[in-house]
């Protein structure tokens, strides 16, 4: 607060008796407005044109039964929303998104933290290991999906590998078994995104002062105690951001699923986004598809707001909450 107001006060301060001050203030505030307009204007215009307006249009379309051609003349109110929520496939899709989000937090987070702690130690070949772990994240989702699809084919690389190490009994129909396919996809997602979590957490670990660890060690804390009570709490902001990104990513999951399974078999891996494309575009149900898009948007938006409000607030406090004044 003080940092924001002090320049103004400083500008006003030194020459209180000069009558021209009000004009200067006016000019400086005009200049400030001009700067704001110039700097923010284009971005806001783009944001409005390519984000806000399309959202509004989608919300408008979602109230119609519309096949994408001709006039919007079949107003159905909220029927599309009711149809989506009562349909078993869409319910399943929401469930699949939630399972992926839940699994990410339960499985990927501990795994990322563990690996980040390992890679933060001084060990031979650390740079190479870090690069290796991060490599999958650099691949596009499409390429990841194609690579894994090839490896997971019946009799493909994965099956051969399992057979080769004597675990032939573990061979499954990875993408063809409706009971298994979602977990197969989750494993691939983990492979791809674990590197991102690790890099994020490694960056967070650099922010943990060595003095604190030393002090803990001097006080007789074991390595585990130091990690648990000193390092992890200080990683809190990083972990909270990771959880946020991970949940949003899980809710919007599309590319990987679309390429590997198209949401099948028998809708066992349908996500909200694949359902949206399947019904909106492939079936020419643009009104209904818009309703699904709005639902997906609202779910993500509400989650983001709540998460910002309750989980991220202490991390962003001061940075976001006070500047505005």
């Amino acid at each position: 607060m003080t940092t924001v107001t002090s320049p103004v006060r400083a500008a006003r301060g030194p020459r209180p008796s000069v009558p021209a001050v009000p004009a200067r203030v006016r000019r400086s505030s005009l200049r400030k407005r001009l700067e704001l307009t110039l700097l923010l204007g284009p971005a806001l215009l783009l944001f409005a044109g390519f984000v806000l307006v399309p959202i509004g249009i989608a919300a408008f379309y979602s109230l119609f039964n519309w096949n994408g051609f001709g006039a919007l003349d079949d107003f159905v109110g909220f029927d599309n929303y009711a149809d989506a929520f009562t349909g078993s496939v869409f319910q399943g899709a929401i469930g699949h998104n939630l399972i992926i989000a839940g699994l990410s937090i339960v499985v990927q987070l501990p795994l990322s933290i563990g690996l980040a702690l390992l890679l933060n130690r001084k060990l031979r070949g650390r740079a190479v290991l870090r690069a290796l772990v991060f490599a999958p994240y650099v691949l596009s989702e499409a390429i990841t999906a194609v690579i894994w699809l090839l490896m997971l084919q019946p009799g493909g690389f994965m099956d051969q590998l399992l057979k080769g190490v004597g675990l032939g009994g573990l061979i499954h129909q990875w993408v063809a078994d409706p009971g298994l396919v979602l977990y197969t996809l989750f494993a691939v997602i983990t492979w791809k995104y674990i590197g991102f979590g690790i890099i994020l957490l490694l960056a967070g670990l650099q922010g943990v002062p060595a003095e604190l660890r030393e002090a803990a060690a001097l006080d007789g804390a074991s390595a585990w105690q130091t990690t648990r009570h000193v390092v992890l709490p200080l990683l809190g902001p990083t972990i909270r951001i990771w959880v946020f990104l991970s949940v949003i990513g899980s809710l919007q999951l599309f590319d990987l699923v679309w390429i590997m399974t198209l949401g099948g078999p028998a809708n066992a891996s349908t996500t909200m986004a694949t359902y949206l494309i399947d019904h909106g575009f492939k079936r020419y149900e643009f009104g209904f598809g818009s309703a699904v898009a709005v639902i997906l948007f609202v779910i993500c938006f509400v989650f983001a707001l709540l998460y910002q409000r309750f989980a991220l607030r202490r991390d962003t406090e001061g940075a976001l909450t006070r500047m505005v004044g």
Binding site: I57, D83, K282
Partner: protein
């Protein structure tokens, strides 16, 4: 201040959108046809050879023969059409000629008011485009013309059939079941199916329906978008019993139809499976998925077997085609161009390059292999060609049918469930 200044912009945008919508939804009146030189924009899916080269040649040849007409071709990926066509038909500047697959999808596109009724322009020559041209009609009006036709049937490997002791291609379901059993005993995957893509699954249900239902029932049901005759359920039951024999490769529910050596086409091409129910495009797809130069000689074709007791003609065929529709701006020039695409020189190029089965019978003699000639003749002799249902029905209904059949393949749902799914989708339920 900046907030104040932006508000008018937002308001302006908000005001523009409904205007744009209004502009998009109106304008179905047929404008006067342009006179003098005309440029036709042409959206087709020939992004790869042989079609790519053929269309380039067609553009050049047509301009030479008709100096007044310039064709601006724009190849698009096949998968882009479902998203780009609706947007284009909402705009004021749709392509003049665009690839269309007839049936219910085309009927949906017609409701945009931008697709031209070319009944009058095509009347003199449409009979030359074959029986299939009827599938490019909606409400009795011609909205497009096919340039190639597709016939679905079983593609099989002669070498694997011999290996398993199957001497003649099966002509009844019993014989097919016996062949499947023999192939299994020989340790071979009898049939490959691209279950991931769903439409290959649907071919089985489609064909069982064509065998179980009379052509009158088929026509009437497609027209009414309602499955009422018990033959539709019977087709589902036939499919269920067939699935119970487990004729497909391991993990078929996750297999793609056409991508990579592990796809169903790739499995047959590389001798990992003995047969596949697919369209006439199969040899072309297979040859790109294997190094086997002798593939054509190893591959044979037989029609979908007869189903005992079925009301359908055992010679009726499941079919479809690729075609083009015109939009209203230059529909006359477009129709003339479509006539050229159906002419013998172009049709011969298509047939000779193995791009597809020609619609023009005069071009059939140029087909690359005897097998393809067999397929073509089967289509010619068929008393009835049923367009694949996912294309014949409105898109939402067709997709619901494919999904329901794919569920049955995955061991879920019932034969009755397929009929219910179609009727529900037709009633507008999601």
């Amino acid at each position: 201040m900046f907030v104040k200044r932006r508000i008018p912009v937002l308001a302006a945008l908000a005001a523009v959108v409904p205007l744009a919508l209004a502009a998009c939804s109106g304008g179905s009146d047929t404008a006067a046809q342009p006179s003098g030189p005309v440029t036709l924009t042409w959206w087709h899916n020939g992004t790869t050879d042989p079609l790519k080269g053929i269309w380039e040649q067609v553009v050049a040849d047509y301009h030479q023969a008709h100096p007044d007409v310039t064709i601006k071709a724009q190849p698009l990926q096949n998968e882009e059409f479902p998203t780009k066509i609706p947007l284009a038909l909402q705009s004021n500047d749709p392509p003049d000629v665009y690839q269309a697959w007839g049936g219910g999808e085309m009927a949906s596109q017609v409701t945009s008011g931008k697709v031209a009724d070319i009944s009058d322009a095509t009347k003199p020559w449409i009979s030359g485009a074959g029986k299939l041209a009827a599938d490019w009609q909606a409400d009795g009006k011609q909205y497009g013309v096919p340039f190639e036709q597709h016939i679905v049937g079983f593609w099989y490997r002669k070498d694997l059939f011999t290996q398993a002791g199957v001497t003649t291609p099966p002509s009844t379901m019993d014989e097919l079941n016996t062949a499947v059993a023999k192939l299994k005993t020989a340790g071979l995957a009898p049939i490959a199916v691209g279950g991931k893509d769903r439409w290959p699954d649907a071919f089985y249900y489609n064909y069982f329906a064509v065998r179980e239902c009379s052509s009158d029932v088929l026509k009437q049901s497609v027209k009414a978008v309602k499955l009422e005759d018990p033959c539709w359920t019977k087709a589902g039951q036939d499919l269920k019993s067939f699935l119970a024999t487990q004729p497909f490769q391991t993990g078929f529910a996750g297999t793609a139809a056409q991508q990579g050596a592990g796809s169903s086409a790739g499995l047959v091409a590389n001798g990992k499976a003995a047969m596949e129910l697919q369209g006439d495009w199969e040899p072309g797809t297979m040859s790109s998925l294997t190094d086997d130069e002798q593939l054509d000689s190893k591959i044979g074709w037989f029609p979908f077997p007869a189903v005992p007791g079925g009301a359908g003609d055992p010679a009726a065929a499941l079919a479809g085609g690729d075609g083009f529709s015109c939009t209203t701006r230059a529909s006359k020039a477009c129709a003339d161009f479509l006539q050229y695409l159906g002419s013998e020189p172009v049709q011969t190029k298509i047939a000779a390059a193995g791009a597809g089965l020609p619609v023009n019978t005069a071009a059939a003699k140029s087909l690359k292999t005897d097998t393809l000639k067999t397929v073509f003749d089967y289509g010619q002799k068929a008393p009835y060609l049923q367009m694949y249902f996912d294309k014949a029905f409105p898109t939402a209904v067709g997709a619901a049918l494919n999904d329901a059949v794919a569920n049955l393949f995955a061991g879920q749902g019932t034969p009755e469930g397929i009929v219910t799914a179609v009727n529900q989708a037709a009633a507008g339920n999601k």
